[in-house]
Symmetry: C2
Subunit: 311 residues, 2 copies
């Protein structure tokens, strides 16, 4: 049986405020990304056009939201968070461009629009990804609005590099590709997602935490645990949506993971157990936020959004 929050949150009053709150941050990060991405006119303009096309693609901006909302929980000035929010989103954007390539997941559509290599070409898509990754580090290293503590910012660069590298996100994609058509255990599936999506979601939260160099170790530990729980939930929900979601709302064919013979939570543990796991993790995430009081309400909302979203 599925516990209450999963079924009744969709209609709560919070959802309306939440939507406005999230929309403001989405607009904020889009504005900041627009400032950092080279203008389309800048040489080589074909590449810069494609970099913008791939970044402004209707993404949900979940990772920037996590940066901003963690910042709220820690009372960090919002202007210090634009840099980390942009950096993490650019890493995410580059990974989608590369993952969509014919040699990888071979996807023609991303959120209902042609993927980068379809709108442009494969070579451009490879370079777009490479350029977006470099830009992410460029921002962390030189954004003048971020906190002045240079050592903290170096730590952010290290965190982002590790979370996105071969022992994080990039490693997760390698594990994913090697898993297609294989029967995975639950542990192997978790391992894949902890790398592929978990590492970057955790980094989103921790980049904000690193923006407060005097953070208490206990606070950092709690936020870290929150991030790990919602990171896994993000993927469980994705797997559930692939089966129960609506093709039009999803922006990709419903059932495409099943079709591609990709290992999913429902396939390994069954749909009911997958939903139960998600709710248990959700409760753990909520529990981790207890010491932050009201300031963490938006982070709670985001955790709920992740398990309630329809795409």
């Amino acid at each position: 049986m599925i516990k209450a929050p999963y079924n009744n949150l969709q209609t709560s009053i919070t959802t309306v405020n939440l939507k406005t709150h999230f929309t403001q941050y989405r607009e904020r990060v889009d504005g900041a990304l627009d400032q950092w991405l080279p203008r389309e006119q800048i040489h080589p303009s074909h590449l810069h056009q494609a970099m913008r096309y791939s970044t402004f693609n209707g993404g949900k901006r979940v990772r920037p939201l996590l940066v901003y909302l963690t910042g709220e929980a820690l009372a960090i000035p919002v202007s210090q968070l634009d840099g980390p929010a942009c950096a993490i989103e650019l890493i995410h954007s580059y990974s989608l461009v590369h993952d969509d390539l014919p040699a990888m997941d071979d996807d023609d559509l991303r959120r209902g629009k042609p993927t980068c290599h379809k709108a442009y070409d494969e070579a451009t898509a490879i370079l777009v990804g490479d350029g977006l990754q470099a830009l992410a580090f460029s921002i962390l290293a030189q954004d003048k609005k971020m906190l002045e503590n240079a050592q903290a910012r170096l730590n952010m660069c290290a965190l982002l590099a590790q979370a996105s590298g071969s022992r994080g996100m990039v490693g997760g994609q390698a594990i994913d590709l090697a898993s297609v058509g294989k029967q995975l255990t639950l542990a192997e599936l978790q391992d894949m997602h902890i790398h592929k999506t978990g590492a970057l979601i955790r980094a989103s939260v921790m980049l904000a935490a690193y923006s407060k160099p005097d953070i208490e170790p206990e606070q950092e530990k709690n936020l870290d645990h929150y991030a790990k729980c919602i990171g896994l939930n993000f993927q469980i929900k994705d797997d559930i949506l692939d089966i129960e979601g609506n093709t039009e709302t999803l922006g990709k064919p419903q059932g495409s993971d099943v079709e591609a013979d990709k290992p999913t939570y429902p396939a390994i543990v069954g749909m009911n157990e997958a939903k139960q796991m998600m709710m248990d993790l959700h409760q753990e995430a909520i529990n981790s936020l207890a010491p932050f009081g009201d300031k963490a309400e938006p982070l709670r909302d985001l955790a709920k959004y992740i398990v309630n979203r329809e795409y």
Copy 2:
């Protein structure tokens, strides 16, 4: 007529010492790279194996040499230079892996060995490049042997990100791909190479300069000019070798640029003029080093090596 140094340096006594000197640094950076690259056994091992395959591929390590030799000219402790030397070489390595992909230059061989996507597969090669780029920034951000000045290290991260990004190396590859089969002017050819190889060669020298935060602006300017001259010369020499070089020594088919209809210096200005440009730039590079006295002798040697090399 070609000036003297180009023709008679190959047999000078310096060359012998130079070779030992360079070999020592090559071994040093290879040792450091071996420490930073995840072991082959580390999960996902297939990816880490491929990352090592692509990094230890018989490369000339010109960029790390530039870091170390600039460090000599500025009397920087060598242990502070290992991090920048590794970072710049990893960026270079990743760019080769991506440039060799079928959608880009479609090369099966690199220095006589199968390219990464041939030895492994395309998806792995894309991920190898992505992982190597992240590792480069990871090193600059966390190497404990580098100088302690965190702001200087952030500046290095920013420098490397800009030099390797869409307005540097990655942009250069985009310009290169767009130029195949086109008639370029000399200015357009220079612009391509300033992006594609020049930016990273300049960054190699400047990373070492940034390791000395109290460097005099005049010194920095001179080193920068040296780097720009040898960066262009590196490419002019490549183009000359493509025509005059030996397939076996080159590790790739002689004449492959001409075959691929790539714009080259000899094609645009003629072989004699290309050689003359190279010697003029060489002289400019040497002149820039005058204020550094004997300590810059190895940098002079490297400039000579670039115009004299046979592969």
